[in-house]
């Protein structure tokens, strides 16, 4: 018999899960609306994804397969820690393959491979309120959402244009969900915004420090805010991925030496690995050794 104290399945106690589950259901019923919830202390600091972890812990079951990414990568500290956390407290299977996962918890990227029906994408959100930097008072932003008063956001985007000649916001680019709520898609690059629109997957957002949960159901309109004469555009990369040669994907810059040498590689490591395994090679990549 073990003498080690055992945690409840998926760490959280059942009453906490019920509270979070009720918040998730209301979030799904009101797409883009931020439902307040009573966020718990988690065994990791705020800013490490406590909101996403609580959402995942409340929905996960023994048959789920979990993938965790941090800026697109499966092998960075945050992703490895959270994956190990759930492998330990929920004993679920984990994977790095996007298509094998039933739940994907993400910090600031959406996988390149389109998600399918039945998959759930859980976002870790630092600041859920898109209007917060424009209006610091919660009482006011709540009223603005209630009255659908989003003029301030358009003024902000307009000021971008007046100052820089274009909308300079490149991440956490505000979206309007189903023609009603303006929502912060979490600090994903705006490159990923179009993937949220009419996605077949359920998208859940958890902000632990800020005590908010929100959701975008499958097949829901998610439109990036813009102007007729300054339409929304995504980032464009000159060169393909240096390792796998992929185009139309989001790339990270990697510094190679102290003389200004650098290369651009896929931010989505799983997508890059799969492409290299399939024989795609970029300018700096090496042909995979034949098995």
């Amino acid at each position: 018999m073990t003498t080690t104290a055992q945690y409840n399945f998926a760490y959280l106690d059942e009453q906490t899960k019920r509270m979070i589950r009720r918040a998730i259901l209301k979030a799904i019923a009101i797409p883009g609306y931020q439902v307040p919830f009573s966020s718990r202390e988690m065994p990791m600091p705020y800013g490490w994804g406590t909101g996403g972890v609580q959402v995942t812990a409340s929905i996960i079951g023994p048959n789920d397969v979990l993938k965790v990414i941090d800026q697109g990568a499966d092998d960075t500290t945050n992703a490895v820690s959270i994956r190990a956390f759930f492998a330990k407290v929920a004993r679920v299977a984990t994977t790095t393959h996007t298509s094998d996962a039933t739940i994907i918890q993400t910090r600031h990227r959406i996988p390149e491979k389109p998600l399918g029906q039945g998959q759930i994408l859980v976002y870790q959100v630092p600041i859920p309120e898109p209007l917060r930097f424009l209006e610091p008072r919660e009482t006011e932003t709540r009223k603005m959402h209630a009255l659908e008063e989003y003029g301030l956001m358009h003024v902000k985007l307009y000021e971008d244009i007046a100052r820089h000649g274009r909308i300079a916001t490149t991440y956490a680019y505000p979206v309007k969900v189903e023609g009603r709520y303006v929502m912060d898609p979490s600090p994903t690059p705006k490159f990923d915004n179009p993937k949220m629109h009419m996605s077949a997957a359920l998208q859940l957002f958890g902000a632990g420090r800020e005590h908010r949960i929100y959701a975008v159901p499958p097949y829901t309109e998610v439109v990036s805010l813009d102007f007729e004469d300054h339409p929304f555009t995504i980032q464009h990369f000159e060169d393909p991925c240096a390792l796998c040669g992929a185009e139309q994907v989001y790339l990270d810059e990697v510094i190679l030496d102290d003389r200004g040498g650098h290369m651009y590689v896929c931010s989505d490591t799983d997508n890059c690995e799969e492409r290299r395994a399939a024989g795609h090679v970029g300018t700096l990549g090496m042909q995979e050794a034949a098995e």
Binding site: N8, F9, E14, Q15, K17, R18, M19, R21, R22, A23, I24, L25, K26, A27, I28, A29, I30, P31, Y33, V35, P36, S58, I59, I60, G61, P62, R142, K143, H145, A146, L147, E178, R180, Y181, A200, L202, A215, V216, P217, P218, Y219, T220, E221
Partner: protein, 198 residues
């Protein structure tokens, strides 16, 4: 055996998770049936699907409104023992409304519709129906629905479409509806637009 103490989930943690995922998937994909955990026992008119939903979602923080035939001593004792949820007779205060059949269902606007600032505080109605298919065809559109979806639950109010249009017009306020029968649940969140099928 006193059924007050019996009749909860056989595996409270995993059964609640199973039922929750069914309800979540039902609301995320309006009109499609999802299987609830069925290890709970029915308590007279409190059908197994209603009991399963109650055990999954309610606790001391949720006010439960019971429809008339469910207001019996054994059912109230069952809810008190297994969930600790307070009961209310005022539909306007209900977090969850548990309704045994359509004859006992008040109009949607008698329930808590939430406020413009806090639309999440509205009532979720859980209605037991005779069957989730085989009735009049209705067409669903909106979030969670890929273009449109047909479904045909039996046992909706006669003026359901009118009431639903009124409920939809209140968006983001409004009630959310769960229909349960045959071990399954169908979700109709307030965001869904419903019209008559052909």
């Amino acid at each position: 055996m006193d059924s007050t103490f019996e009749g909860g989930f056989a595996n409270p943690v995993f059964d609640a998770q199973t039922s929750f995922r069914a309800i979540m998937d039902a609301l995320a994909n309006p009109g499609t049936p999802h299987k609830l955990a069925e290890t709970a026992l029915a308590q007279g008119p409190l059908k197994v699907e209603l009991a399963s939903t109650l055990l999954t979602l309610s606790d001391a923080d949720t006010h439960i409104w019971l429809s008339e035939t469910l207001r019996t001593e054994p059912i109230e004792a069952f809810i008190a023992f297994h969930t600790g949820a307070p009961l209310t007779r005022d539909p306007g205060r209900a977090t969850f409304a548990i309704v045994a059949s359509v004859d006992e269902l008040p109009r949607f606007d008698e329930f808590n519709l939430g406020t413009q600032e806090y639309p999440d505080r509205s009532t979720t109605i859980v209605l037991a129906v005779p069957a989730l298919s085989g009735g009049a065809d209705i067409v669903l559109r909106g979030p969670g629905v890929n273009d449109h979806w047909h479904c045909s639950p039996i046992g909706l109010p006669e003026d359901f479409l009118t009431q639903w249009v009124e409920n939809r017009e209140l968006f983001p306020r409004g009630i959310d509806l769960l229909l349960v029968a045959d071990g399954h649940v169908i979700g109709l969140p307030r965001s869904t637009r419903i019209s008559e099928g052909h």
